[in-house]
Point group: C2
Chain length 442, copies 2
């Protein structure tokens, strides 16, 4: 199967960040030519005139099924939000509902140009199945916690992780990972189990929450004598195969430790702001230390969208405001975070994160013939400061179209939305939760 | 002319913030019924099933023609941005280019559900004409500054303001205002002139920048012995007919002064963050003092969009993060800021800002049958945290459709965009400015 994306403006995100006017040739699941393409027959032509062509965006930290909880419990302190809204609803989750929520998230991510995600949630099989069916690339964790989930008791988590890993290892789209929830929810023993499994699985990715709130940092220090970063390090979980979500409350010393370790960070500014964590990712220092910082939306319940375009804008503007310096977090580096740096954090820069020959054909086309994208003078500026998720017109993952000129090719959008609405309503009713000030269907 | 908007979910934004499932009847330029509507013949029916119906959003501080400078000079310190990008380009502005930029802004605002704006720029006639032709409601300032603009020398500003006021006073859509740029750019004498004209014009609105940066506050204090708020007050310019843009660097004492004066504030969080002003609007204190705080985008050059949905999200999330408290700036109050509080700041709550019988029919329909707006549980949450400008489907101002199911009714979108692109390119060439790292047409 050969696909030609013809006559666009290609933001390659290669090492030189070349911007090339031209075409992109895809053979099978890979990019075969960029810019100038050889003549020859093709099976599909996609017209890219008036479009930016970019590598698919990477959502480095999310919880897909939490789309079901979108708009349920805004404007509440974190503890009250968890206690009165999130946990009561999650207690009633089943695999079927998780799958309905994951499908809704996949629909939203495809619509918004996200081609790869790094997820952690209960019922990981349901998430992985939904992603594989939708054709989206996913890194999916089996979760470890010291208390029971709606799916599992703690004593069964290790065997479940083995089963999950065995099922999905080698899948072309799904990469199984290990997801110790956080150092405040995982004992030394649990972290040791995860470290052992990581070795056993040949160094698979570990995905965890780290230093999201000040309370968490203090609690872990009080309980273990170590701050979260050190607590992970002493159990052998801080390395090139680790992705830490948040890190809003890390010290300069921890920045150095992260730089030395090779661990990556999923920065989730929208969720951090919405939950009022108060912390600020020390981005210039992390970049100085060569840490791979990618972009995450976190779950829709604390965002409330899965748009990485919005996340890029919050990342750039938040850092400028925090540092009183508009030069901090320039557009190109923020766009890098959502593409090639996310890939680097996942240990996948050799196959993802840029439009280069031989890489996976995860490609997004953005229609810039819009009032809010006129005039077009600097396309990188537009991507970070003006493009919205709904400017995305076409999305391919591994060469396969998931969205083609606005039409979903692998999911039945109306069905997915109806099933998610029904699942959310049923869950809220079971849990006795009334969302917001004004619960209103339409 | 009678228009029926049938079977939507109406977020009335009335005093009780009633949310009503039903219809909206418009007669001429006014709302005739809300919820239950009388039977009878109508000239136009708009199907609102699957839509939220809200009062049109109010952009309380902007510079429409600066759309031409969108993406020209991001990631630069304020002074360098002004000196190397904005001023050199603005020096070449003509009325024709200002009109082209204003038309582009009007197109973007209509597309994004903004029905009323409060503007300050050179060539105010061009802005007012463009708005009147497009059918958008505008408060348009004649500018006062102590140095020449591309349009005027300072000695001609008073006579120009008289002419401008005489031309537009009484227009159904355009309200002429007075725009002393700021206390750091207007001398005592200039401010006195404006105060005198305000009296002469029967108490028309005064629109000014105030306390946007710390440097500005210090400079004004050094020059005049007064901080900007006091400097306005001592010249009689702090009152119910004043809108102050920004106020990121005001003290608690100034909050009290603002509360006592009745002045309104245009909060522009996206621009403030992007320019790294470092300040934070003391929102809870301003609300405590009953100050009308509305939402502004500022010009597109420092945003880079004119989306008030995005501004609402930045407003809510920025305040939560700044105060370490997720309860601060709840969705309903932020939605109020973009509607009825903006109207109150303009002294127009009697005719704008909510869907109530007798008010102007400035109405926006939002299609919520989208992945990122599913499930629909709390519509107010969605408006602030999930809706994007491109979810807007239909927009009416004074009962007249400007956008009808996605089609522009008063502007030729392709023509407006082409003319703006050409104007921007010509301006940059004249000024010798190369935008960004990667100037690329498409």
């Amino acid at each position: 199967m050969r696909t030609l994306i013809r006559d666009g403006l290609l933001l390659t995100q290669n090492a030189q960040r070349d911007i090339v006017r031209g075409s992109l040739l895809i053979e099978g699941d890979r990019i075969a030519a960029v810019g100038e393409v050889p003549e020859g027959p093709v099976d599909r032509v996609i017209d890219a005139r008036g479009h930016l062509v970019i590598p698919g965006l990477i959502n480095l930290h999310t919880h897909l099924p939490m789309t079901l909880l979108r708009g349920v419990g805004d404007d509440l302190p974190l503890e009250e939000w968890l206690r009165t809204r999130i946990w009561p609803v999650e207690a009633h989750l089943t695999a079927a509902e998780v799958k309905a929520g994951a499908r809704l998230a996949l629909l939203e991510m495809i619509a918004g140009g996200t081609t790869c995600f790094n997820d952690m949630y209960f019922f990981a099989d349901a998430v992985a199945e939904a992603a594989a069916e939708a054709g989206v690339r996913g890194f999916v964790a089996s979760v470890f916690l010291d208390f029971p989930t709606p799916e599992l008791t703690p004593d069964r988590m290790e065997s479940e992780a083995r089963r999950f890993h065995a099922r999905w290892a080698g899948h072309p789209l799904i990469t199984p990972t290990l997801g110790p929830h956080a150092t405040y929810t995982c004992s030394d023993k649990t972290l040791q189990t995860v470290a052992r499994l990581q070795q056993e699985f040949g160094g698979c990715l570990v995905h965890t929450h780290c230093s999201e709130t000040r309370t968490e940092v203090y609690d872990v220090e009080a309980k273990t004598g170590h701050r979260p970063v050190a607590q992970l390090a002493r159990h052998g979980l801080l390395g090139e195969r680790t992705v830490l979500a948040h890190c809003g409350w890390i010290t300069k010393e921890e920045v150095r430790a992260l730089g030395a370790s090779g661990a990556g960070i999923a920065h989730c500014p929208v969720s951090n702001f919405k939950l009022a964590t108060g912390g600020w990712l020390p981005l210039p220092e992390l970049w100085e230390a060569k840490v791979a910082v990618g972009t995450g939306t976190d779950g829709a319940a604390s965002n409330n969208t899965l748009s990485l375009f919005e996340t890029m804008k919050f990342m750039a503007l938040g850092q400028k405001q925090h540092r009183w310096d508009a030069r901090v977090a320039p557009a190109q580096r923020v766009f890098d975070a959502a593409t090639r740096e996310g890939a680097r954090a996942l240990g996948a820069l050799d196959r993802l994160g840029s439009l280069e020959v031989g890489k996976q054909a995860d490609v997004v086309l953005i229609d810039v013939r819009k009032p809010h994208l006129t005039p077009l003078t600097d396309p990188v500026s537009h991507l970070v400061y003006a493009v919205g998720a709904q400017d995305v017109r076409t999305v391919l993952v591994a060469g396969k179209p998931l969205l083609l000129e606005g039409r979903f090719e692998t999911l039945d959008a109306a069905k997915v939305m109806a099933e998610a609405q029904a699942a959310a309503e049923a869950l809220l009713q079971k849990a006795g939760v009334r969302p917001g000030a004004a619960q209103q269907g339409i």
